[in-house]
Point group: C2
Chain length 278, copies 2
DNA sequence: TTTCTATTTCTCACATTTCGGGAATTACGC
DNA sequence: GCGTAATTCCCGAAATGTGAGAAATAGAAA
């Protein structure tokens, strides 16, 4: 998955020093949370002084922290920024009471997933059924093309964005079974959109997700609410029922969301209208 | 608090393009979560093309996201990195059950605060008393010199780190009432250390925090547990009782923490031994 | 405290990259 | 599909990043 070894020396195309510094952070994963300068030198094929400069900049910014034994780990700024995002996100004010209300009826789990360009992220979860593995906590990313929360967002994107996606991600779309060409894709999306909600089981095969879209403005998706149950607990009637439940909840959430932001788009207003894909 | 306007042109001392790019992120606060390129140009006094380059790099890395109306907001990578940190943090595996156990006895609130160099961060909270304003959720930073969770960590830092701090942060230490010079400071710290826990009320005057240190290795503080109650609910006897409770809980947490990591410091092991201050 | 080693920063010469104005292009929303 | 932004591209000038090695710290033990 990773490249075995980066290019000999010099820079890859489009690579700038900023790119490289930010790229360092990608190395810090749950599997390899600690990196020393020596490891970074070996990995990135850069001079030791340069690596020290980079690491220092990241430390000064709080994105890395030195630990005992000449190692570095991800720093506190990420935790702080996550909080900052949480504080500015109106969805996190609006949705929890709705989830609490649905909890007993759903009797499984619930996810709130936000749309972030090509990615969809779990942003909030609520669980009752202990059999449901919720490896789906805040911060878990999904492809825009996989899973019912993602797809129901995808289906509700504006047409020109769907067109862009069809052009730039034909491969992904085909692999996800969403159509071999623009017409098929568009029709598939329209079907989902018209149905109002989407039932799917393509991420965890043992679970069924029933998702409906949340809009921050008419025609502009911001997120989706996904009701989750184990497969054996969902009859076709249940699916329909939960679908309607989700759609209704999302309608309420959407209208609160739109009331939350004053009509004029002055900055300083909540920052959720994410609707650009590249 | 902010500088009214940055230096005319050119670069401030020690400022590098990397510093500046990372600095852009600092502008995205809960108060001003949306920035346009124009606003950034005005604020940073850089060419429009340059700002676009910077913003693009940050977007490509997922640290910013474009929103409708030519604005940018903090991106999904922060949420993902926070998750990554949570997954790698053994404290978040060990502490929740302990907090649950203490919940009814404490009958107030609990904070787990982690040591990050000059900063201390709330990393986990647990609340029962609805009268306690818990603006203290995950991600909230504290000064190393204020609040009982911070101070109890401070007091348990190795001597040479205390010395460094006394040299470089004399001002802060004096202002926090921790001593006018090295001797006073050292003695104050020793007193706290010997007592084992710390009772204080210097952040929220209506609350009392009772904190004890958590060690990832003998003599190496990693974090602190803080038991919180409203001031009127804490008699001197209560304080002593809660102090002992905290110390005992932290002893258990510390020993689990040390068992969690195998003796050898191979990398790939959990990444918590944060013990360097600058 | 003092000492000793490993880690980190500093110095400096060289050249590669960045910067910014303006033109060209692309994207969004009707 | 079109028109108005928003964004990227292009280019010369010049400043900044780079890396080897020296110097300075910081960390851990006596």
């Amino acid at each position: 998955m990773d490249n075995i070894s980066p290019p000999e020396h010099g820079r890859a195309a489009g690579e700038t020093s900023i790119t490289r510094v930010l790229g360092i952070l990608d190395l810090f994963t749950p599997e390899t949370p600690v990196w020393t300068v020596d490891l970074l030198v070996d990995r990135l094929l850069l001079g030791r002084a340069t690596i020290y400069r980079y690491v220092r900049a990241l430390c000064d910014a709080g994105f890395l922290v030195p630990v005992a034994g000449a190692g570095y780990v991800l720093g506190p700024r990420f935790i702080e920024f996550d909080r900052s995002i949480r504080l500015a996100d109106p969805l996190l004010h609006i949705v929890p009471p709705v989830m609490a209300e649905l909890r007993d009826v759903v009797n499984g789990g619930q996810l709130l997933c936000a749309f972030y360009g090509l990615r969809v992220l779990t942003v909030l979860q609520d669980k009752t059924d202990p059999n449901i593995t919720m490896s789906m906590e805040r911060g878990r990313p999904f492809s825009l093309f996989r899973g019912s929360p993602s797809r129901v967002i995808l289906a509700n994107l504006p047409t020109y964005q769907l067109r862009n996606l069809a052009l730039n991600h034909q491969q992904d779309i085909a692999e996800a079974g969403l159509g071999q060409n623009w017409t098929e894709f568009r029709d598939a999306m329209r079907t989902i959109r018209r149905n109002g909600y989407l039932v799917a089981s393509d991420i965890d095969k043992a679970l069924v997700g029933i998702s409906a879209p949340i809009f921050h403005a008419p025609g502009a998706v911001a997120a989706s609410l996904c009701l989750v149950r184990t497969k054996q607990n969902v009859s076709p009637e249940d699916a329909t029922f939960l679908g309607r439940l989700a759609v209704d909840a999302c309608r309420r959430i959407s209208s609160e969301l739109q009331a939350f932001r004053p009509g004029d788009a002055d900055f300083g207003a909540p920052a959720f209208p994410i609707s650009r894909v590249r």
